[in-house]
Symmetry: C2
DNA sequence: ACCTGAACACCGTTCAAGT
DNA sequence: ACCTGAACACCGTTCAAGT
């Protein structure tokens, strides 16, 4: 059932359509930046299924094996993409807005970016920050924002991780089909759930995923803030 | 760099080692249940990379193509696994324990199960409940627990989705390497974050992921409970 | 150093043939 | 209906040869 695409020949053809013979070219035709932007265009045009090393090479007018002079593996390409996308995450609120609003803005923009790139989430969630400079920069600004808001240093990283976990999970949820909770023929065996699905609060303006994200994010932000105060109280009592 | 395994011949060999010739066998040798448990054993022994249709067939003493009489695709196998694993999620607290404790127990067991099966998370997060009877049963018991605890029906599904999103994201986090936040050579450009990583609260008994999960879960539970109360207040004022 | 082109060792899936 | 065995259309990756 696989769609059979009309394939151009496998030989490398540059953007201008002229053939390039083997051997080191006069000036390099590839770079990490070019690979990243070509991958992004490919995904925007045809989705993550279309992101193969072959397709990427074809779009760059190069043989697939040429990519391996710049990346170690396809996983490397995903890391490049991930770090690039961090540019789209809004950390501008930290330092200007109160902590809850700054976190809220950050979280929504973070979720929105990766909802469009959910196949990257398993990659990010496990990604060492070494070699992901933009990601690290985001963590730095985030940390400064938390400390400025009075967060005790030992809680900053766990709080960020907790928020990120919620964001990653929620980004998947955006990709879920509308009818994910339709119980169908099994409705009789799950009467309470079936009824709750029908009665669920849906935002007038947005998708069902937005209602859950708003509820959870607001709950998480106020709950974390309460734990910060508890920690401060315990510390002042103990000290 | 791929490891080259010594392969047995591709012809189907039953568990007893005798060869089975083509044609419908006297009694069926496969079923969804057998496929599910073989897949589980394969994953436990060698991880998700080893879960290929070929390897699955080999373990079942069958040709790969035989699997397609029982599942439509490899994705189908993942769905079978996912629903099976829901047996390990603890919903026993609902109806006996107070809501926060019941939710806490459920969330920890849910995270623990899927932390061991993180490749399934992208599958579950988008899975229609139709055709996942155990999953649906879990939602039913969860919904009953929420309603019994006084949750307004419109908020039940969004609250469950928010908790699940946090759980899925946290399950990935368990799989992350210990040194995920080591900033390495970039430490100079991220002084606050580097310091916060060193100062972070680590549980004496568990992994770093556990500290973040506990912090986030407790925050989320108390934050959601507060929103439930707000909703009830607004409703009584409006009514 | 950085490209080409051929080759390698896999994948998941389909399908005619067999009982 | 439910197996086998061969074939198909891909994958990602490696490597000698070329400049």
């Amino acid at each position: 059932m696989r769609k059979r695409a009309t394939r151009r020949p496998a030989i490398a053809v540059s953007a201008s359509g002229t053939h390039r013979s083997a051997g080191r070219p006069a000036q390099k035709v590839l770079s990490k930046e070019l690979i990243t932007s070509a991958a992004l265009k490919l995904i925007e045009a045809s989705g993550y299924d279309a992101l193969t090393m072959s397709a990427l090479a074809r779009r760059l007018g190069v043989a697939p094996s040429a990519l391996y002079n710049h990346v170690k593996s396809k996983h490397d390409v995903l890391l490049l993409l991930q770090d690039h996308l961090m540019n789209g995450v809004d950390v501008s609120g930290f330092g200007t807005l109160p902590w809850p609003e700054a976190v809220r803005n950050w979280a929504w923009s973070y979720r929105d970016v990766f909802a469009q790139h959910s196949p990257l989430i398993p990659v990010i969630a496990v990604l060492p920050v070494t070699g992901a400079p933009r990601t690290l920069q985001m963590y730095e600004e985030l940390t400064r924002g938390f400390l400025d808001a009075g967060w005790p240093e030992p809680l900053v990283v766990p709080a960020i991780v907790a928020l990120e976990s919620f964001i990653f999970g929620s980004a998947f949820d955006v990709a879920a089909p509308e009818d994910i909770f339709e119980t169908g023929e099994l409705a009789d065996s799950s009467p309470h759930f079936t009824s709750a699905v029908r009665a669920r609060q849906l935002p007038a303006d947005g998708a069902p995923a937005d209602a859950a994200f708003r509820l959870g994010l607001d709950g998480l932000i106020s709950g974390l803030d309460a734990q910060r105060r508890e920690w401060a109280d315990a510390a002042s009592t103990a000290g």
